[in-house]
Subunit: 359 residues, 2 copies
């Protein structure tokens, strides 16, 4: 299957390459920069460092190994990454390469955004969540003690190289979490993407490379369109938060780390479609049934009970009031009219929402 | 004297008010925000907190007192400010108020830039450097162990309220340091600004309010024009670094904190004009003499020897190669053809530059 290339126009143009030849673009990226440095998840480095070097990454490139997974997204690691950029002698014409899952590319992206107020960054995401969502579109962040992703910046990567080969080594739970974001992307991309995803569901569950590449390219294409229109999330980009107001509240109330983000979002998507029906916004009544069947085929939760955690409706509502996109205390929802058509910034009654949340 | 209002158009419009009525705009700013919080230099708060409250700042506004002066510009204080924003429950529709000198407004601005990826910020600068330069234009930063201002972001303040009354309590050294930036602004603003500044020099040295307000408004007007044209410092905005390639090198080689930034810049301006002559770029041969006389009238250094520190020419050259605006190892200079006309990104021979630096 040929690689796919998706371009994002704008003040900070970006290019996403998807396929097992995506890393072929690495050498040219490195050549354009006056210096480069690698900021990488230590586990990704162990598993896949050889594949990078086989595609032209110099063996002596300055490299910062981050603690694996979400542990790297804090202020101390950010400080470490900034010092590393200084030691590597990077200029504004250099390149930071982020390598790993969404946490590593978030941290690398934020360090690149801040060092000298902006060094170009390119990402090589190694997880499904990274390839379909986190590494794309320039949102970076660290967690604060007060909450996830509370401090960050917009810093568009000059390139994202998504190689489906990396996805073969993912733990099953991380693979499924990524599928949650794939479903979200298809719901927003429109009827064709959703039908394709329904057809690909068994192949995706079995991690067939061609189906994975198709799903990643679909999600990247959607994100490119939305981000191009609204790079700073002032309006239409908020559609990408479909399922996330519910999802973030689920993660918060369950206690961070207990429920993987992608599964919380998957449950959030079901809730968002149910809320769309309650708000009389949903124009395609069969959508909830299709979505439920799709989640079953992909091994995703079809509701809160599937998460196996007790979640109080009132606690979920309170947590939604803290979401970073809304005003103080007033949760806002992204709802769906039909696949490809979102409704933004919808306020819902507390009682109606809590009723949806009763297990 | 009536207040002056300078507007900066663009994606992130900004408004600068200069005069002893500037704080009159505070209440309206607070009313527009869903919440607000004050991030302030502890010394400014002690000296001038009452004046803020007299202009409508609520006595119970959440307030973070930062260590006085440059001590607040590090990662630990940034973390503290971010946690403070979380505790204050700020949303993207809230307002962070930065209050103090350039260090405090830099830290407040960076925290606002990062919290939830961007909360609006307004600054109330209390020093001359803050009012003529640091609080304007959206550049924020902290220092890293590896160097000053090495990590930061562009985050345009929605408003800057510059009240010359605050300048009365400044230590003399800080006042003079601010005058260095005033001279830089006049050199870039053009012949009229320079002539006005020459006429105002005695009044500025004596801190007369009307002359101070005139100088602040002149500098703010220049910065507004330049920033409007080039908000992210990709081209013309670099003119604002006139004298700064030399100035930063002087600060670095002397050891940080030994020579106030504004005095290093003042010496750097003299060097930049001399370098402009050497590079056959200067078209107004009398400029060096005028600038020297102006510096004398303002109590500013007229050359390296006035700084009272031994500075090796070769060490200065090496330090210039580390400047954050250039590529790796190749210093770039801003030179002057005449007042109001800068030449950007000029590369100079090492030998020629070192000759200028011999005491």
């Amino acid at each position: 299957m040929a690689d796919q290339v998706i371009r994002i126009a704008g003040d900070s143009p970006s290019e996403v390459r998807v396929g097992d030849g995506a890393l072929g673009a690495l050498s040219a990226l490195l050549e354009r920069a006056d210096r480069a440095a690698l900021v990488a998840d230590e586990r990704a480095l162990e598993l896949h460092g050889d594949r990078l070097r086989a595609h032209g990454l110099p063996a002596d490139l300055p490299t910062l190994a981050l603690p694996a997974g979400e542990a790297c997204k804090d202020l101390a690691q950010l400080g470490r990454a900034l010092e590393f950029c200084a030691e590597a002698g990077l200029s504004r014409r250099s390149l930071v390469l982020g390598f790993g899952g969404g946490a590593a590319t978030d941290l690398a992206g934020l360090a690149a955004a801040l060092f000298k107020r902006g060094v170009p960054v390119a990402h090589i995401p190694t997880t499904l969540v990274g390839q379909v969502d986190a590494a794309l579109g320039g949102k970076t962040a660290i967690d604060l003690p007060a909450g996830k992703n509370l401090a960050g910046a917009f810093h568009m990567p000059v390139a994202v190289l998504s190689d489906p080969v990396f996805l073969g080594t993912l733990p099953e739970a991380e693979h499924r979490a990524g599928l949650g974001e794939v479903v979200k992307s298809a719901l927003l991309a429109g009827p064709r993407a959703l039908t394709q995803l329904e057809a690909d569901a068994p192949a995706l569950a079995a991690r067939e490379q061609a189906a994975l590449a198709r799903a990643v390219a679909m999600a990247a294409g959607l994100k490119a369109r939305v981000v191009e229109e609204d790079p700073l999330e002032r309006g239409p980009r908020r559609s990408l938060n479909l399922g996330h107001t519910f999802g973030h509240a689920i993660e918060t109330v369950a206690g961070h780390g207990r429920i993987p983000h992608g599964l919380a979002v998957a449950a959030g998507l079901i809730l968002a479609v149910r809320a769309s029906a309650v708000a009389a916004c949903l124009e395609e009544p069969g959508l909830l049934g299709r979505l439920t069947a799709l989640h079953e085929a992909l091994g995703l939760p079809t509701g809160l009970t599937d998460l196996g955690v007790q979640l109080e409706p009132s606690a979920l509502w309170e947590a939604m009031g803290q979401d970073k996109k809304g005003s103080v205390g007033r949760p806002e929802f992204v709802l769906l009219a039909r696949p490809g058509e979102a409704r933004l910034g919808v306020a819902l009654e507390r009682a109606a929402v809590e009723e949806l949340l009763i297990p």
